[in-house]
């Protein structure tokens, strides 16, 4: 028996359940924090930040959040073991599992069946999107960014705006495609999260009656709607940001806070370059 059964067969149940578990934690939990943080580019306007108001307060709030994340100890380890490996595991197994099914929504156009198909489509698309997102903004693959903007932790909002619009000055044609790619990407991923939470409750056996599945469906819809709002706020917030004003706020904050140094631990080359630029340019 053990000779004929490979690793994947012997640990079939464990792998499938780990696939489900990684989707819930850490990935869903992370995405909730991530989208809430990014949406501060909109809700930060309401909160105010250190005497700043309006859009400036949003830039300040977002910068504050980014500084907090970059000040976390062992950030690279958290990223590798808390994010990249679980997401990679979930994505690779997810694609392999999805290839084992065959959509039939034309024949059976039931709502749940359409969600089944969209869950797989959003998985494929989301995998591509997350790879682009992390590669360009975190790993510095600027050759994939129109205009070649390098996102930096010290100029979190302004470089994000430039990266998503294709230039510091405003939208370019290629930048428009990036912005649309972001909008579609985050929307599909939020759907994937909400629908995945709903199906995982059946997988693990939490919702064992139709009524319970319906109830949990309402909860998942509410979670999805809230996250969708945060996701759209983030993309639209950065896409419509005033670059020069944001830059000024960020430079002002650096003067006040003496520029956060922990970021250099994570991205030594980049951070050093950015600090140089700040000193000569500002």
């Amino acid at each position: 028996m053990a000779d004929t059964d490979g690793f994947l067969e012997r640990h079939h149940f464990l792998l499938r359940r780990l696939h489900s578990l990684t989707g819930i934690a850490p990935i869903s939990l992370f995405l909730m924090f991530h989208l809430t943080t990014n949406a501060s580019i909109v809700w930060g306007r309401l909160a105010g930040h250190d005497g700043l108001t309006g859009a400036d307060a949003a830039v300040g709030t977002f910068q504050h959040e980014v500084n907090f994340i970059h000040s976390m100890p062992m950030l690279l380890l958290i990223e590798i073991f808390g994010l990249w490996l679980p997401i990679g595991f979930h994505a690779v197994l997810g694609v392999a599992y999805a290839l084992g099914g065959k959509n039939n929504t034309t024949q059976y156009a039931y709502q749940a069946n359409r969600r089944y198909a969209l869950q797989r489509l959003s998985g494929y698309f989301g995998f591509l999107f997350i790879f682009y997102h992390v590669a360009t903004l975190r790993w510095g693959w600027t050759f994939l960014v129109p205009g070649g903007t390098q996102w930096t932790g010290e100029h979190a909002a302004s470089t994000m705006a430039a990266a998503i619009r294709g230039s510091a000055e405003g939208f370019t044609a290629a930048g428009m495609i990036v912005a649309i790619f972001y909008m579609v990407g985050v929307s599909l991923l939020v759907f994937h999260l909400a629908n995945g939470l709903w199906t995982s409750a059946i997988t693990w056996g939490l919702t064992t009656t139709e009524q319970a599945q319906k109830r949990w469906g309402h909860v998942c819809t509410a979670i999805g709607a809230g996250l969708m709002l945060a996701a759209w706020s983030s993309v639209i917030g950065f896409a419509t940001l005033d670059y020069d004003a944001a830059r000024a706020v960020e430079l002002g904050l650096q003067g006040a806070e003496h520029a956060p140094e922990p970021a250099s631990e994570v991205m030594p080359g980049m951070a050093a370059k950015e600090i140089d630029e700040t000193e000569t340019g500002g």
Partner: protein, 282 residues
Amino acid sequence: MTASTAATANGTTSSAGNAPAQADRTINFRIKRCDGPGKPSRWETFAVPVGRGANVISCLQQIAARPVTTEGTRTTPVVWDANCLEEVCGACTMVINGKVRQSCSALIDTIAPREGDTVSLEPMTKFPIIRDLWVDRARIFDNLKRVKAWVPIDGTYALGPGPRESADSQTTRYILSTCMTCGCCMEACPQFLIAENEHEWETAFIGAQAISQARLFNMHGTGKQLKGDRLDALMGPGGITDCGNAQNCVQVCPKEIPLTESIGVIGRAATVHAIASWFSGR
């Protein structure tokens, strides 16, 4: 398994071949034909005079008695499988107008109410074809063996009367017990794919039917002795974890069996069984 052509159809339809007494209109049947395993498929259309109370089976009997297409070509009688003619055996399951269901309960007045309406008939796609609309559903029986869907009573001594069953349990189990092994839930499932070779059956997705039957027998006072075996089988490749929650099964089930609830219940049992097994060292 009985293949019924006009020649072997049961005696209640002695008038087969003659137009029904009160034929009031003519409808067309577009039928996907196939001469045998591995042979190519083709479509043929037949005009059939119908009256009140006609069903797909009675129309197939008329076609079998006079196998002439609308182009006037004489062809072979269409072969199909049927038995009870009252939707309790599942043998006459086929794809009617794009959706899987029993042909005996597919009433012409409902599915083709007007003169000249067309009804399309295809064999199920998830089971190996024998001929025309007749498929080999042996894999379903094999799936039931995989999950030991029976009550163990064989032995060397009398076991005495079984344990009493509560009214609650009876209510839950009754609807599960109405499953007629027809194959609808598997035909409509995007995760259940055709497996021509028997050796693939052990690891291919087992489908909602066997999962629900495992639940039925796990609830039985004596049948629950095999609960562990059933869960072990369902936790392997092709078991409960291969469900993609498209929920087409529950939509197409002619007996309205709560298949998605069964999937949730077995999901819960598998979760508990996995944790218990891990701690008990099995």
